[in-house]
């Protein structure tokens, strides 16, 4: 029996050796697998670190408006990526250098000296410099104290010029692979792009504002030019017309005057004739009575007087029109004198008060420190009169008119506001056109505002109008103030 089990024992031993051999092999395989997994894991972690870094840098585009935040963000991301804890940045702007505190340490670490900064801002690529190469013994001592023996400098340029440098402090035992530093450098180009993009955006916005402003100015100047041209050509036309009409008007006025005189005599004579005829029964008297019955001389005489009177009014109006037309072309004759605008307005108010008093509640707001104006007081008065009369015409039954004077920088402003019917948008662009009027045919010549415009323009000023239908109108006249030499 023991022989049988001896044989069995031997087989068992062999089987056990085979089993142990398999075990050793499997153990080696497992160990190898573990090592490979570890290696792959480390690789993966490195890749993750890299993509986290790239993501952090890319997300800095969100902060693009703030230069310092972008640089700070890049510095902190790079410090983390390199697996160290300290660093700072400096920014060169308008010839002055701003250096941040050391992140991960605080204040108390001295700056590099100007020689160092000169060479660093001349770098184009990342660079590692040992602290003893800086030849700055104070700084070197301090850095040694905090365990730093090298600094990585990463320059960031904007439009080809280095404006920022990140300093990352490396402790003695830190070993940084070249690929990792390369990655930092590549990321710094991305930061450059962000900074440059931001500058371009600012320039673009500024240009846009300037262009928009210029555009507005051009539009305004254009409208002024158009208006001036209208006025100029009409001025020429008016001068011609006025000149041509004047002579015939002269004849007619004189003839009407003569006619009036003759009518005086004729009507006297006829009145006496009538008396004679009514007291006589002769043939001629009877014929004369018959003619009178048929023609009705008393009516004819009255009518003739009325006709002459109408002709007079008509001529008077024509003369007014011609006088206005003449003002168009005669604006820069006569000498310009200094006068006070408040006094000028008060005088005009006196003149037109009769026309205003029934409908208008007039309110004044004159600035008593108002500078003098150099110009033709009569013409300016004509403008004010025109405005006040227009204002009162715009008010149907009762309303208010405000007259205000004030100084704004080197201008004198006269503001006349009424609570009348207002001017529609459609008419607003035409109100300064000669002969434009919304009044009935025999109520206005339509020359008032166009003449006013011309007068103000010849004084180097401006008229602006604001109006809302149903609410009222506001005219704002600006005239250059006379400068004081004291």
């Amino acid at each position: 029996m023991s022989d049988a089990y001896k044989k069995a024992y031997e087989r068992e031993r062999l089987a056990r050796f085979a089993a142990e051999k398999i075990l050793d092999e499997k153990t080696r395989e497992v160990q190898s697998s573990i090592e490979m997994i570890q290696y792959q894991f480390n690789d993966l972690m490195q890749q993750k670190k890299e993509s986290d870094y790239l993501l952090s840098v890319a997300s800095l585009t969100k902060k693009a408006d703030d230069f310092s935040l972008v640089v700070e963000g890049f510095l902190l991301a790079s410090i983390e990526y390199l697996g160290v804890s300290m660093g700072r940045y400096s920014i060169l702007k308008n010839r002055s250098l701003k250096v941040s505190d050391v992140y991960g340490y605080g204040k108390g670490v001295g700056h590099l000296n100007s020689e160092n900064y000169k060479s660093i801002y001349g770098l184009r690529r990342k660079n590692i410099i040992a602290i003893n190469e800086l030849k700055n013994s104070d700084l070197e001592a301090k850095l040694q104290d905090i365990g730093v023996d090298r600094i990585v400098f990463i320059p960031i340029s904007c439009f080809g010029k280095v404006t920022t440098v990140c300093e990352i402090f490396l402790p003695k035992d830190a070993f940084i692979k070249e690929e990792i530093l390369e990655q930092c450098e590549v990321s710094s180009y991305q930061i450059s792009n962000i900074l440059e993009g931001n500058e371009n955006k600012k320039k673009l916005e500024k240009s846009y504002i300037e262009i928009k402003s210029s555009h507005e100015k051009i539009k305004y100047a254009q409208s002024q030019l158009v208006q001036s041209e209208k006025m100029a050509s009409l001025g020429q036309l008016s001068a011609g017309i006025a000149h041509e009409i004047n002579n015939p008007i002269g004849f007619v006025v004189s003839n009407i005057g003569t006619l009036k005189e003759y009518m005086g005599a004729i009507s006297n004579y006829i009145m006496l004739s009538n008396k004679l005829v009514s007291a006589s029964e002769s043939d001629i008297s009877n014929k004369m009575r018959a003619i009178d019955e048929e023609e009705n001389f008393s009516f004819i005489i009255d009518d003739i007087n009325e006709i002459i009177s109408d002709c007079d009014s008509g001529l008077f109006r024509i003369k007014e029109i011609v006088a206005n037309l003449k003002s168009f072309s005669r604006l820069d004759e006569e000498e310009k004198l200094l006068f006070n605008i408040n006094e000028c307005i008060e005088n005009i108010i006196k003149v037109v008060w009769n026309e205003l008093k029934y409908k208008v509640d007039l309110k004044r707001n004159f600035s008593y420190e108002i500078p003098m104006i150099r110009g033709h007081e009569g013409q300016i008065g004509q403008v004010i009169m025109n405005m006040l009369v227009n204002a009162s015409h715009a008010i149907e039954t009762q309303g208010e008119v405000f007259v205000e004077t004030r100084q704004e920088d080197n201008l004198v402003k006269i503001i006349i506001t009424d609570t009348g019917s207002g001017i529609s948008d459609e008419h607003k662009s035409k109100i300064f056109d000669p002969f434009f009027t919304t009044k009935a045919v025999d109520e206005g010549t339509g020359l008032g505002l166009s003449v006013s415009y011309g007068i103000i323009e010849s004084h180097g000023g401006e008229i602006k109008v604001r109006s809302k239908v149903g609410e009222g109108t506001c005219f704002e006249i600006s005239l250059p103030a006379e400068k004081h030499d004291n």
Partner: protein
């Protein structure tokens, strides 16, 4: 054939005969391994054929009967000493349903080079189903023994209707199995 089967065969012989019988079976079979079998190692199928044949001769048992008895024994052996946790099955049907997808799959994980027979069980009712078996070794008799062993373990009885057999030239072995129990 995996070493564990040879270990099972040795145990089977020791249970039903003794070490001397086993020693002489090994000697007579002249197996290349010399009878030293390690569980996770693969050995030539011819060795198990030689051992089984010689054993049945020595014991005076018909080969098929012997194989069936061994199959029944093998179930218990694999259950207790096999490397795979057989899990929480309550019936043979549940085991058969996951034989391929769970048990043989796990075997291949540890022994990628092992050849496992193919089993597919399709239930027809709670107590019956169709089983397909396919293997280069054509050991359907051992398979029946294993199923018998399983049924006994779960307190069931099983009836076999072996209507297709590879020994008859069919592509697969196929049974209808009818279970009763567990009690």
């Amino acid at each position: 054939m995996q070493g564990i089967i040879f270990n099972a065969l040795e145990e089977f012989v020791l249970e039903n005969a003794d070490m001397e019988v086993w020693n002489s079976v090994i000697e007579d079979s002249k197996v290349a391994s010399g009878g030293a079998y390690t569980s996770g190692v693969s050995y030539d199928d011819a060795e198990v054929v030689a051992l089984a044949t010689n054993l049945c001769e020595k014991l005076g048992v018909a080969l098929n009967d012997g194989l069936k008895m061994f199959g029944e024994f093998l179930f218990g052996f694999l259950l207790s000493k096999g490397p795979i946790e057989v899990g929480n099955y309550q019936t043979t049907q549940m085991l058969l349903a996951e034989l391929e997808s769970v048990i043989h799959r796990n075997v291949k994980r540890i022994h990628p080079d092992a050849y496992t027979p193919f089993f597919e069980y399709t239930p027809q009712s709670e107590n019956s189903g169709e089983l397909i078996y396919r293997s280069k070794r054509k050991l359907c008799v051992v398979a029946e023994g294993l199923i018998q062993g399983a049924a006994k373990h779960y307190g069931q009885t099983v009836a076999f209707d072996h209507f297709h057999c590879t020994h008859n030239g069919d592509e697969n072995c196929q049974w209808v199995l009818i279970f009763s129990g567990p009690n």
